[in-house]
């Protein structure tokens, strides 16, 4: 066990990449939870991992493959909106199957596959950091702009239609932003760590938040704090980041005593 590595410049880029995403993903997760679509995040993550692996086999940048697959996932979600969770599950199964087959049949994909599935944050480079910073700079203001339409769609679904306006383009823009954020996190943090950051901080923020805005802030704070602890523990004990992050967040839910009917 050694925590000296925490201060090693080698890990600065991975740390700050993850920290940016750990602040962004819970915000996206709050709106996915609002729309009762949090399961879509796992579908986006699986699709992104399959896309990244496919890109690697095709000698493309993995990050591009992941983002492209996420865009496809967002489009499928929009087209198959009526299928709801069923569409997410089908996407997950397809992406997981494709990803595992690629790993099994292409030596090149094996190492990348383990990084994606295990969540080896330490392999992220400056390209990921730049992409994460860009994502935060673009997605956070757009989420602020989309906040009212997304809340209205939940609490007053007929609000825009009664005024002769179509809310669908704004909802589809949210799908696209959510899929891109999750995809970027998947290729940086791994599938389950990305999903944990989308799911758990909003779960706690919705339980303990005093309002929507304070819930958003609380969610981001929980995400970033939990991420920092997971990063330190995984580095200090030389463990893969993804599982440490996922287990830590589950323990947090249990410790905070969130009732099962509020999940």
């Amino acid at each position: 066990m050694s925590f000296d590595l925490l201060f090693d410049p080698l890990f600065r880029v991975p740390f700050f990449t993850g920290l940016l995403l750990a602040g962004l993903l819970p915000l996206v997760g709050m709106y996915l939870r609002l729309r009762d679509e949090w399961l879509a995040a796992l579908a986006f993550a699986q699709m992104a991992s399959a896309g990244a692996l496919l890109a690697m086999v095709a000698d493309w940048p993995m990050i591009a493959g992941g983002l492209l697959a996420a865009v496809v996932a967002a489009l499928v979600k929009g087209v198959a909106a009526r299928a709801g969770a069923g569409a997410y599950v089908l996407m997950m199964l397809l992406a997981w199957g494709a990803g595992v087959l690629l790993v099994a049949n292409h030596p090149l994909a094996e190492q990348a596959g383990h990084a994606l599935f295990d969540g080896q944050l330490y392999f992220t480079g400056e390209g990921h950091l730049v992409a994460a910073a860009l994502a935060v700079a673009v997605i956070v203001p757009l989420l602020a702009w989309l906040s009212r339409p997304l809340l209205l769609a939940r609490f007053f679904p007929e609000f825009y239609r009664a005024r002769g306006r179509n809310e669908r383009p704004r909802l589809m823009l949210f799908d696209l932003l959510a899929s891109l954020a999750v995809a970027l996190a998947t290729v940086s943090l791994g599938v389950m760590a990305a999903f944990a950051l989308v799911f758990v901080p909003p779960l706690l923020a919705c339980r303990f938040g005093r309002g929507w805005r304070s819930g958003l802030v609380l969610s981001a704070v929980i995400g970033m704090a939990g991420y920092c602890v997971a990063f330190a523990v995984s580095l200090g004990f030389d463990q893969p980041f993804g599982p440490v992050c996922a287990v830590l967040f589950v323990v947090l839910v249990l410790v905070m005593g969130v009732k099962s009917d509020r999940m």
Binding site: R33, L34, R148, L151, L152, R154, F155, F156, P157, E158, F159, R161, A162, R163, G164, A205, C206, R207, G209, R210, G211, W212, R213, S214, G215, D261, R262
Partner: protein
Amino acid sequence: MDGFLIRARGLVAGYAAPVAGPLDFELRRGEILGLAGPNGAGKSTLLKALWGGVRVFGGTVEKAPGLAISHQAQGFDDLRGIPLTGRELLRLTGATTDGLPAWLSGRLDERLDRLSGGQLQFLRLWACLAAPADLILLDEPTNNLDKAGVAFLSDWLGHAHAAQGIVIVSHDHSFIDQVCTRVVNVGEESPA
């Protein structure tokens, strides 16, 4: 447009097939129109047809240019687990907090899932009533309201609202008779 806000002529509406109508009426600013009738008569369907929420099978709906409609629908999602305050809910529709009853105005900064069913229903109703709109459509507004809520709503509707028109669907005939300036009975004729 002859000064009317909305005009329905022989309106027949439904989903896969026509289930309600025909309906004829014309509404001007300052009027409160009640759509009365038994359960299953299609009142809510006709109300939705006024803003395009269901399929129109026959007749016409004419609206004043730029008409802003506020529609309060029946039912409400399960709010457990969503940390929204009453003030945030009202801000969504642009509803003012001025004029809210005292028993609710003091609780605006509490989460919606901490309010009673009656308080929540009234708040939701208020989000539509006090939103910027020319035409307000209310679907069974007294459902789930407690006595204080019904009394306040009746009183509020009883005051002059010269700038707006209101259409109310209710199976509660006494409420309709008390607050509406005109009543149209639905379900007395079969769909064309």
